[in-house]
């Protein structure tokens, strides 16, 4: 699975993206966040407050309970602040 990180999520994890093999039991975005947090302190810090991290699947905003089946690209980022 192609994962992308933006803004301080990117800075805390220390990379802009990566391609990972996900365990089969991961069904939702929330499952994915929980699994990522086990991958190291940088992930644990980035997702310390999951309510402050937003997600997009295939470049569309999704909620934590969104299923990841069919995803080509999953992105994590803080609430947007453009404009």
């Amino acid at each position: 699975m192609k994962l992308l990180y933006f803004a301080w999520v990117r800075e805390r994890i220390g990379r802009a993206g990566e391609t990972l093999e996900l365990p089969a039991e991961i069904r939702t975005v929330a499952d994915l966040v929980a699994w990522l947090k086990t991958r190291g302190p940088e992930y644990a810090e980035a997702f310390a407050r999951p309510d402050l991290v937003r997600a997009a699947i295939n470049q569309e905003h999704v909620k934590p309970d969104a299923p990841i089946a069919g995803a080509r690209e999953i992105a994590f980022f803080p609430p947007v602040t453009g404009g």
Partner: protein, 163 residues
């Protein structure tokens, strides 16, 4: 193409002229320009860096624009959003709406800005004079601004909501 994400600056008059060239059916054009402020929470800002999500940004801006066209009788719109490092006073975003009805042009421009601010994947990092960086937090007032569009469309004099 009416949505552009670019590092380069823009010019409001140039965009108005492009949208209205050879058209005499438009009566009202509204522009919104957002610029970098030189101060944040009492602290002086040396520059503002805008990060974005290439691909998704354009897709979101196009979705937001299509929603405005579905909701108001718009003749033309343009959204330009810059990314990269910008100095205080520099342009960040331009929204242009053109309609035969002035209230439609005003409301659509406000709507585009409200939605853009809470949906388009941009993130701002302020760099202070001493070099320290700070990611700008999303503002609750932006969420509140968005919430008011969820109300039933208010009837506006002379303007029928589209759809």
């Amino acid at each position: 193409m009416s949505v552009r994400v670019q590092a380069d600056d823009f010019d409001a008059s140039h965009e108005i002229a492009a949208l209205t060239a050879n058209r005499t059916d438009i009566g009202a054009i509204v522009t919104f320009t957002g610029t970098v402020r030189g101060e944040a929470k009492g602290k002086s800002i040396a520059s503002m860096t805008l990060e974005h999500y290439p691909g998704m940004t354009e897709a979101e801006l196009e979705r937001v624009e299509a929603e405005a066209h579905a909701r108001w009788p718009l003749d033309a719109t343009r959204i330009i959003h810059r990314f990269g490092e910008l100095k205080p006073g520099a342009n960040i975003v331009l929204v242009v709406t053109a309609s035969r009805h002035r209230q439609a042009a005003f409301e659509a421009a406000e709507y585009l800005m409200d939605y853009l601010k809470s949906r388009a994947p941009f993130w701002k990092k302020e760099t202070a004079a001493d070099g320290t960086g700070n990611w700008v937090d999303a503002r609750e007032t932006d969420e509140a601004a968005l919430a008011r569009w969820n109300l039933p469309v208010k009837p506006t004099p002379g303007v029928k909501p589209a759809g």
